[in-house]
C-alpha cells in the first residue's frame, strides 16, 4: 500500500528541499519549523488496462446501458476527447485516450456505425497540430479519421454551434451543433485534477464564448473556493457547469462519459528523484540532481526548453469508469482523491510554491508571465479543499524567473493583453468590464484561433480571472528570482532569495510567520482542516 501524503516539519535533520522554478529547480534550505506538504506516493496502475476498459464499457455506472447497446447502424456518433492541456506533462504513448478510442471505435465498427466524427474538445484553447493529435490518438485512429472526421472543435464556427437553451440562472448553453444533433456523444476524458471531467467535459469543452462567459468570469472565480473542490456550494464554476450539463441532458442529449484517473508518476525514471522525498534520495539521485541542474544551467535556452518539452510522464492509469456523467464523475473523484488528497492542519501566514515549467496552456510552448500567474495563483493556490493553505491577508511566495517571453503563434492575444491591458490595470473586474468584449470579438484573434494554432483572444482574460481568488485572498505576492519588469507588470513584488522574500513578507505577516511549502508537482490537493 503506497504511503499517504503527509506534512513534514523542517528540523535540523531536513536536507535542502527541491523547489521548481520554471525550466529548472533549486535546492532550498527552509527555516526550521516550516511545514512541507508532500503528496501521497504513486498508486499502482491497473494491471490489465484493456480488460478494465472493456469492463467499464460493458458495465457502465448510473443510468446508462452498456456501450454496445447504444451503438446501432445508421446512427450519428460523435466522440469527443480532452485536448493537449491534460495530462501534464504529456504521458508516454500510448496515451490512455488512444487506448479508449480504439475500444470505442472497434465497437462502433462492429455495430455498423458509419457516421462517426471525432472532435478534440478544445473550447477556446488552441487547435492541436496534426503531430500532436497523432501522438494523442495513435497511428491507427489518426490514419482512419484525420483530417476529415478527426478535427479540432471550432467555437467560432457560427454555423457549427447550436443554442440549446438557458439554465434556471439564465446562463446560455451553446455547444457544438454536430454533437448536439448526434444520437450519442461519447466523451473520453482524463481527470488530472478535480475540476476536470463531469459536466464540464461537454458543457465547457464543446462550448462557445457566449456560453463560457457565464462561468469564466471574475464573479464566478471569486466565488469558487476552490474550483478544485467540486462539492456543491464550494465552486461556483462547478455549480454552473452542472446546471448546464443537466440542461443538456434534459434536452435529450445522450452522453456516454468515459473518465480515467492517473497516478502521480509525473516524471520519467531518468528524473525519478523528482518523484521522491529528498531524505530518501540515494547518492545516485543526489548526483543525478546535481548533474541535471548544472547541465540545465549551462545549456542554451533553446536546448533547455527542448529538454523539458521532451519530458514524458510515466503515468499509470488508476481507474476507468464509464456511463452516466454524474455517476461516473463521482467514482472518478473518489479515485482522484485517493491519489491526491493530503490532510493539513490549519492555515499558515505564508505559503511557498515552486512553479514548474509546464501548465495546461503551454504544452510545447512557452510559460509566459500571464500563465505563470495562472499556474501559481490559479492552479497551485486553488489545490485545496475547505480553506486555502495560507490565511487571508497572508503572503504567497512563488519561485519562477517570469521571463518577458511569449509564444507568438500560440499566445498572440496574450502579448497584447500584457502590453496593453496589464500596463493599464491589474484589477480583474476592471479588466473584465473594459477590455474583455473587445478582445473576445477581435476579428484578427478569431481568425488566428480558427486557422492557426492560437488561443482565443479572450483566453488571457480567463487566465487572469483564474488567479483572481488567490490575488484577492493574499495580502502580498512575491516571486523569488522573477524578472523585475515582468513581475512589476503583473503587479507583484520580487526578491532574489527566500530570505529576502521572508524579510519583505514581514510587512504583512509580522516577524515570525508560520510557513508552509506546498511541495508540488506531483499534483495534490491540500485538505485544510
Amino acid at each position: 500500500m503506497p504511503r499517504p501524503g503527509f506534512v513534514l516539519e523542517v528540523d535540523e535533520r531536513t536536507p535542502p528541499l527541491i523547489v521548481h522554478e520554471g525550466e529548472g529547480y533549486r535546492m532550498q534550505k527552509f527555516p526550521l519549523g516550516t511545514r512541507v506538504v508532500y503528496p501521497p506516493d504513486a498508486l499502482p496502475g491497473l494491471r490489465d488496462l484493456n480488460a478494465h476498459i472493456r469492463q467499464a464499457l460493458l458495465n457502465p455506472v448510473g443510468d446508462s446501458k452498456p456501450l454496445p447497446e447504444l451503438l446501432f447502424a445508421g446512427m450519428r456518433l460523435t466522440i469527443a476527447v480532452d485536448d493537449i492541456s491534460i495530462p501534464l506533462p504529456p504521458m508516454v504513448t500510448p496515451d490512455i485516450r488512444q487506448r479508449i478510442l480504439e475500444h470505442v471505435i472497434e465497437l462502433a465498427a462492429r455495430a455498423g456505425v458509419d457516421d462517426l466524427e471525432i472532435v478534440v474538445a478544445t473550447a477556446l484553447h488552441r487547435r492541436m497540430t496534426a503531430a500532436e493529435i497523432r501522438r494523442m490518438v495513435g497511428e491507427r485512429v489518426y490514419r482512419s479519421f484525420w483530417p476529415t472526421h478527426l478535427t479540432n472543435f471550432d467555437a467560432e464556427d457560427k454555423d457549427g454551434i447550436a443554442h440549446i437553451g438557458q439554465t434556471e440562472e439564465g446562463e446560455d448553453v451553446e455547444i457544438m451543433k454536430r454533437a448536439a444533433e448526434s444520437d450519442l456523444i461519447v466523451y473520453v476524458n482524463i481527470n488530472l485534477v478535480a475540476m476536470d471531467g463531469g459536466h464540464k467535459s461537454v458543457a465547457v469543452g464543446l462550448a462557445s464564448y457566449k456560453s463560457l462567459r457565464h462561468h469564466h468570469n471574475v464573479h464566478t472565480m471569486l466565488h469558487s473556493k476552490s474550483y478544485m473542490d467540486p462539492r456543491p456550494g464550494h465552486s461556483a464554476i462547478n455549480d454552473s457547469t452542472i446546471r448546464m450539463g443537466r440542461l443538456l441532458a434534459s434536452n435529450g442529449l445522450k452522453i456516454f462519459q468515459i473518465e480515467t484517473t492517473l497516478n502521480s508518476e509525473t516524471f520519467p525514471a531518468q528524473l525519478g528523484f523528482l518523484n521522491k522525498r529528498e531524505w530518501e534520495w540515494s547518492t545516485k539521485d543526489q548526483a543525478l540532481m546535481m548533474a541535471a541542474k548544472k547541465a540545465n544551467e549551462v545549456a542554451p535556452p533553446r536546448v533547455r526548453r527542448e529538454f523539458f518539452r521532451r519530458i514524458e510522464a510515466s503515468y499509470k492509469v488508476t481507474g476507468v469508469n464509464a456511463g452516466e456523467v454524474e455517476a461516473v464523475h463521482e467514482r472518478t473523484l473518489e479515485n482522484l482523491h485517493r491519489q491526491q488528497v493530503v490532510e493539513v492542519d490549519g492555515q499558515s501566514d505564508i505559503v511557498v510554491m515552486g512553479i514548474p515549467y509546464v501548465g495546461p496552456y503551454n504544452v510545447n510552448s512557452i510559460l509566459n508571465p500571464i500563465l505563470v500567474h495562472c499556474l501559481g495563483l490559479g492552479y497551485l493556490f486553488n489545490m485545496y479543499r475547505n480553506k486555502p493553505l495560507v490565511r487571508e491577508g497572508g503572503v504567497a511566495i512563488m519561485y519562477h524567473p517570469v521571463p518577458w517571453e511569449f509564444h507568438t503563434i500560440h499566445h498572440p492575444s496574450y502579448i497584447d493583453f500584457f502590453e496593453e491591458v496589464l500596463a493599464d490595470t491589474t484589477e480583474p473586474k476592471e479588466i473584465e468590464d473594459r477590455y474583455e468584449e473587445r478582445y473576445a470579438t477581435d476579428p484578427w484573434y478569431v481568425h488566428l484561433y480558427r486557422t492557426s494554432n492560437a488561443y482565443h483572444g479572450v483566453h488571457p482574460f480567463y487566465m487572469w480571472y483564474w488567479g483572481a481568488h488567490g490575488r484577492d485572498h493574499c495580502g502580498d505576492v512575491i516571486f523569488v528570482g522573477g524578472e523585475p519588469k515582468s513581475v512589476a507588470r503583473l503587479g507583484y513584488r520580487r526578491a532574489d532569495s527566500l530570505r529576502d522574500a521572508l524579510e519583505m513578507a514581514k510587512d504583512s505577516v509580522g516577524p515570525s510567520p508560520s510557513i508552509t511549502y506546498f511541495h508540488a508537482p506531483p499534483i495534490m490537493i491540500a485538505d485544510v482542516r
Binding site: 516539519e9 535533520r13 531536513t14 535546492m27
Partner: protein, 301 residues
C-alpha cells in the same frame, strides 16, 4: 552560486560521510519499545574501570595539563560526602567531561559515569565505544523527557555517581542556558545530593565547533561546590533553579572571593550567567571574553 559551493551545501544538507538522518516528523511511527541501544555496562566492570583509569591518568590528564593551565578548587567539599551523587555543571565545551573526570579524586573517579546525548555520542560504533570506555558514558535520550534518564536512574541505584549537563547541549555563545529538569527530577526521586561544578574558561579554550583547544595553554578553572540536597516538598522546577544559582555562585566565587560570593548570594545579588539580552553577536562577544590570568605576572610576561 558556484558549483563547488553548491556541492558543499549538498554535502552538508545530505550529511555526506555521516549517518543519513530522516527528519523527525518523517520517521515512521513505531510503538515505543525499550531500546537497549549500545551496551555500555562492560565499561563499568572492574576491567573497564581499570582501563579507564589508565587512559585518564596516562593519556587524558597529561594531555589536558599540556594543553592548558588547569586549576582545581573545592574538592574538599567532597571529603565528607557519601555517594552516589549527581555532579552537574553548565556545559560550555567538549572539554567539560574530561576535565571533571580527570580532576575527581580517585574514589569518585572510579565510580562516576558521564551522561552523554544518545543522538550525538551514541550514533556510530566507534564513538559509542570511545564514550563508554573513556567516560563510562551512558546514553541520555534528549527527546524522551523523563524516560530518557532510565539508565541514569539505574546507575545511581547501583551506587554510581553520575555527571550530567542539565542544559542538554553546549552553550552556543558562552552563556549559561536554561537548565532542563532531568537531573532535578532524578535527585528528587532518589534523594541524592547534587554537586555543582563551575568550569571557568573552557568556552574560551575550546568553544562549540572546535575540536582542539586554542594555543597558549589557556587557563581553565574547575571549581567544585557544596552539595545541595532536595528539600521536603520541593518541586523539580525550584530545585533546577537552585542548581543554576549554585553554579552562578561558584562563578561569582571564582571572580571575587568565597565570602563575597556567599554574601551576594544571601542578598540574592549573585550575577546571572544568562548573559545580556542582546543580538547573538554581542552575546558571543561577551561570552568569549578571555579569562584573565590570576596572581603575580610571570617573570617573562
Amino acid at each position: 552560486m558556484k558549483a563547488a559551493d553548491e556541492v558543499k551545501e549538498l554535502a552538508r544538507g545530505f550529511r555526506w560521510g555521516r549517518r543519513p538522518m530522516v527528519p523527525r516528523s518523517a520517521e515512521p511511527h513505531t510503538e515505543e519499545r525499550e531500546d537497549v541501544g549500545f551496551p555500555t555496562d562492560w565499561a563499568r566492570t572492574e576491567a573497564g574501570v581499570a582501563a579507564r583509569q589508565a587512559i585518564l591518568r596516562g593519556i587524558m590528564h597529561p594531555l589536558v595539563r599540556n594543553e592548558r593551565s588547569l586549576r582545581v578548587f573545592g574538592l574538599d567539599h567532597l571529603q565528607d560526602v557519601r555517594g552516589p551523587v549527581v555532579f552537574f555543571s553548565h556545559h560550555s565545551s567538549h572539554l567539560d567531561a574530561t576535565l571533571i573526570l580527570c580532576t575527581l579524586p580517585d574514589r569518585w573517579q572510579r565510580r562516576t559515569a558521564v551522561g552523554a546525548a544518545r543522538d550525538y555520542f551514541f550514533d556510530v560504533w566507534w564513538r559509542q565505544a570511545f564514550t563508554a570506555l573513556v567516560y563510562a558514558g551512558f546514553p541520555i535520550d534528549r527527546a524522551r523527557g523523563g524516560k530518557g534518564i532510565d539508565k541514569a536512574r539505574e546507575l545511581v541505584r547501583d551506587g554510581w555517581s553520575i555527571v550530567v549537563f542539565p542544559e542538554g547541549t553546549r552553550t552556543p555563545d558562552g552563556h549559561m542556558q536554561r537548565f532542563r529538569h532531568g537531573a532535578s527530577r532524578l535527585a528528587l526521586e532518589l534523594g541524592v545530593g547534587l554537586v555543582p561544578i563551575a568550569i571557568v574558561g573552557a568556552y574560551q579554550a575550546m568553544p562549540k565547533g572546535r575540536w582542539w583547544p586554542g594555543k597558549g595553554r589557556p587557563v581553565v578553572t574547575i571549581r567544585y561546590g557544596d552539595p545541595i540536597y532536595p528539600q521536603e516538598g520541593e518541586t523539580h522546577q525550584s530545585l533546577s533553579l537552585r542548581m543554576q544559582q549554585a553554579v552562578a555562585q561558584l562563578f561569582d566565587e571564582d571572580r571575587t572571593t568565597w565570602f563575597d560570593a556567599i554574601s551576594r548570594a544571601e542578598r540574592s545579588e549573585t550575577p546571572s550567567l544568562a548573559g545580556p539580552v542582546a543580538p547573538a553577536w554581542r552575546r558571543t562577544w561577551e561570552g568569549s571574553r578571555p579569562v584573565a590570568r590570576r596572581g603575580p605576572p610571570k617573570a617573562w610576561e
